[in-house]
Symmetry: D2
Subunit: 245 residues, 4 copies
C-alpha cells in the first residue's frame, strides 16, 4: 500500500457504515481519523485497520460540541492535509407526531443535522485554506421524504441535505467537492436486521438483495472521491438491485 | 359578517404575511388568536381587525417555548374549536458557510423549524381530539433549494417541510389537512424592498409584478382552507406572474 | 347566472373529469366548447349543461390532428375571447417493457403529450394576441413517477409536464397563467372502480375516501382560475384525504 | 488490454460524448458496436479505436426505425453477450412556443425519446434472456426542468427519463442495471463553444471550468458500470466544479 500524506476524517465512525468508510480510505493509504461518541468502542476498528497496515487515530467525539469538532478536524489537518471529511451520524427514530417530545426532536436534530453543519463548516475552513478538499454527507430516504412518524428524523435529514446543498454551491467553484450520498435502503447491520425481523418476521431476512452491505456504501464514497472535478456529482443515490422504490 | 364558533391561530403574526392571514380569517367570521415575539407590536393589527368588526386576541408569544405554545393554542381552542393553525415564522439570513456561527445556525432553526414543530404538534393534539382541523405552514424557495450562503435558513426551512410532510401523511387520513405553502418570490414588505434596492438599485422596485402582496398569500391560505377533503393539496407553490423560476 | 363574454375550451371532455370541468365553467357563465374523439358521446353532457341554462358547443375532435385543433380553439375564440383552455386527455396503460409495442408507445404519446402540445400552443397563439388567458393541463401521479410498466404512459405524462413548464416560464410574464394539476389518486369513475375491484376485490371500493369525485377536480381548476396573477400556482397536486403517498 | 467476451452498444455514437464512451469501453476490452445516423462519419472513431487495439463495429443506424434497432442490438448480442447498451441521442433546440412546429416537436421526440424507448426495450429483451445487463441513458438539465423555449426538447428528455425510471423499477430486481446520467452542464464540443460565443461573446470560453470534457462523461458511465448490484445508482447527475446550479 502506497502511503499518502493526507488525512481522512470520519465523524460518526460506527460499527457499520462509518467503520467501513474508514477501512476503505485507510486501505488506500490515507491516515484516517475516526471519531464517535463512545470512544472506547473504536478499539476493534482501530485494531482491524492497523492489522491491515493502515494508519488510524481514534478518539471519543461528541460531534454536537463545537470545540470538540474544531479540535478533531484541526488535529487531523495538522497531522497531514485534510483531504476528505465524511459526516455519518444518523438518529433514526419513529414516533406519532403527538408522541414526539421536544427533547427527542431537538436531540435528533443536534445529532443528525447540527453536528453535520459543524463538521462541514470546520472542514470547509481548513480546506479553503489549502484550496481543495472533499466533504461528504450520508443521507437516507428520509432526506427526501417525510414519512408518517418521521417528523424528527426527516426534519434533521432534510436539514442536513440543505446544508450540504448550500455548501456545494458555495464551495464547488472553490475546488471543494461537497456531496450527499442517499442510501435508499436498509443497510445490513445488526440493528436493521433485528428491526426487520420484528416487523415482518424471520423471512424478511431471507432476501439478501434487500440489505446493503456497508462496504458498498464505502465503495460509493470512494467513487465520489475519484470523480474528476470536471464531472462532480452532488447527490448520489444508491440502493440494492432488489429494492422497491 | 357571519360569526363562526371557531378559532384560527396565527403563530408569527408579523406586520406582513401573518397579519394579512389574520385579517382574512377574521373577515370570514373566525375569532383569531395572534401571537408574535413582541406582543406590543400587535396593537395596530388588533385595532384594524376590530375596526372591521372582527374578533381577535393577541399576545406576546415566544414560539420556541413549549409551555407558551401549549398555552397559546390551548387557550384558542378553549375559546372555540381550533379550526386552523398557521405557522408563519421565518428567519431569512445569508452568510458564507465559514461565517455562519453555531449561534446563528441554532437560532434560525429554533425560530423557523423547531417552533413550527411545536405549533404543529400542539395543534394536532387539539384537533385529533375533535377529529378535524387544518394546519398550514409557510415555506419559501429555500424550502426546496439550499442556495449558496443559506445553510442556516434552508437548513431550517427544509426541516420544517419535512415536519409538514410527516404530519400530512399521518394526519390526513384522520381528517386533518396539513399543507405547506411555498412562496417562491419576494413578498412586498418594507424589508424586502430595502434589500432589493441595496442589491440592484431603485429600478429593482419599478416592476410591481415581481413582489407579492401579502394579501395574495392570505388568499392562497383561504383557498387551501376551502378545499374539500376529497381533493386536498399538500404543497402549494405560488409566485407572481413576472417571476423568473 | 351572469353570462360572460368569454369561452372555455375543454379538450378531452370525457364522461368524468372533462365533463365536470365543462359543467363548472358553464355554471359560472362561460360559453364552453367541448371536444372529444367520439363527438356523439357528448350528447348527455350538452343536454345537462343546457338544462342548467348553460351555453355549450360540442364537436368531434381528434386532438392529434393539428388542423382540427386550430379550428376547434379558433372557433371558440371567434365566438368570444378564449379565456381558459383545459387539456384533459389521458391514456393510462401498463405493460411490461418488452410487451410495450412501438404502436402503443407512439399512440399514448400522441394522445397524452403531443395533443397537449398542440392545444397549448394554439391556445397560446390566441391568448398572446389578447394579452391574457389561462392554459391548464391535467397531470397524474405518472407525471412525476415512472412506475414499473408505465414506460409509455409516464413517458407521455412526463413530456406533457415539460411542455407545461416551458410554457409557464415563457408565458407567465405575458399574463397567461399556465398550470399543471397533478391528480395523485384514482378518480371515481366506472373504469377505475372496475379496475380496483379486479385488483383488490370488492372491498377496495368500500373506502370512499380513496377515490376522488370528478367535481373536486373541477373545483380545483376553478380555484386555479381564481388566483390573482400576483400569486399564481404552476403545479397543483391534489389527493383525497385518505390517500397514502 | 484483456479482451472480454462481451459487447457494448452505443446508440448515438457522435463525435463527442458517444464516441468517448465507445473508446472507454473498447479500451477496457469490450467489443463495441457503434451506430449513428450518418454511418460514414464513424470512420475516424473506428480508426482511433482500432489504432488503440480496440475492437469495434460501426454502422449507419436510424434509431427511430424499429427494425434497424432490433438488428443493431441483436447483431451485437450475437457477436458476444450484450453487456451494456448506452443511449445517447439528443436533439437540443429552443423555440418560442408559438414557433414550435408540429414537425419539430415530433422529430425531437422521435430522436430523443422514442428511439431511447426502442433501444431500451430491445436491450432489455436480450438481457432478460441472459439474466444480466446494463442500460444507460444520457440525460440533461432539460430532463428535470422545462425552461422557456424548451417545450420540444424538455418534452422529449422528460419522457426519456420516465422510460428509464419505469425500466429501472421493473428490471432492477431482474439484475439489469438501468441508469440515467444527468449532465447538468454544457459539454465541451465545437457546437456548444460556438453557441456560447454567439450568446455571450468570446469571454464565455475563457473559463474552462464550465465546460465538461466528453471523457469525463465516459468516465462517469464507467463508474456506473462498476457499481456492485448491492449499491446501484439510478440517477447520476454530474457537473463541472465551476458550474452554477
Amino acid at each position: 500500500m502506497k502511503k499518502r500524506n493526507a488525512t481522512v476524517a470520519v465523524v460518526g465512525a460506527g460499527d457499520f457504515i462509518g467503520g467501513e468508510i474508514a477501512k476503505k480510505f485507510a486501505s488506500e493509504g490515507f491516515t484516517v481519523f475516526v471519531g464517535r461518541r463512545q470512544g472506547e468502542k473504536l478499539a476493534p476498528l482501530i485494531k482491524e485497520i492497523e492489522a491491515a497496515d493502515g494508519k488510524v487515530f481514534g478518539r471519543a467525539l461528541d460531534a454536537r460540541k463545537e470545540d470538540e469538532m474544531v479540535s478533531f478536524l484541526g488535529d487531523a489537518d495538522k497531522h497531514a492535509p485534510l483531504e476528505v471529511c465524511v459526516f455519518n451520524i444518523g438518529a433514526n427514530v419513529n414516533f406519532p407526531i403527538v408522541d414526539t417530545t421536544e427533547r427527542v426532536f431537538r436531540k435528533v436534530w443536534e445529532m443528525a443535522c447540527y453536528s453535520g453543519f459543524l463538521a462541514g463548516r470546520e472542514a470547509a475552513r481548513l480546506m479553503l485554506a489549502r484550496g481543495k478538499g472533499n466533504i461528504f454527507f450520508t443521507g437516507a430516504t428520509a432526506s427526501l421524504r417525510g414519512g408518517s412518524g418521521y417528523a424528527a428524523f426527516a426534519g434533521a435529514k432534510f436539514g442536513l441535505r440543505a446544508v450540504a446543498q448550500a455548501m456545494a454551491r458555495e464551495l464547488g467553484p472553490k475546488n471543494i467537492h461537497v456531496a450527499h450520498l442517499i442510501i435508499d435502503s436498509g443497510v445490513d447491520t445488526a440493528w436493521v436486521r433485528e428491526r426487520r425481523e420484528q416487523m415482518w418476521g424471520k423471512e424478511a431476512l431471507d432476501n439478501p438483495d434487500l440489505l446493503m452491505p456497508p462496504a458498498s456504501v464505502a465503495a460509493s464514497y470512494w467513487q465520489l472521491y475519484q470523480q474528476p472535478r470536471s464531472a462532480w456529482t452532488f447527490e448520489l443515490e444508491i440502493r440494492p438491485f432488489g429494492e422497491k422504490w
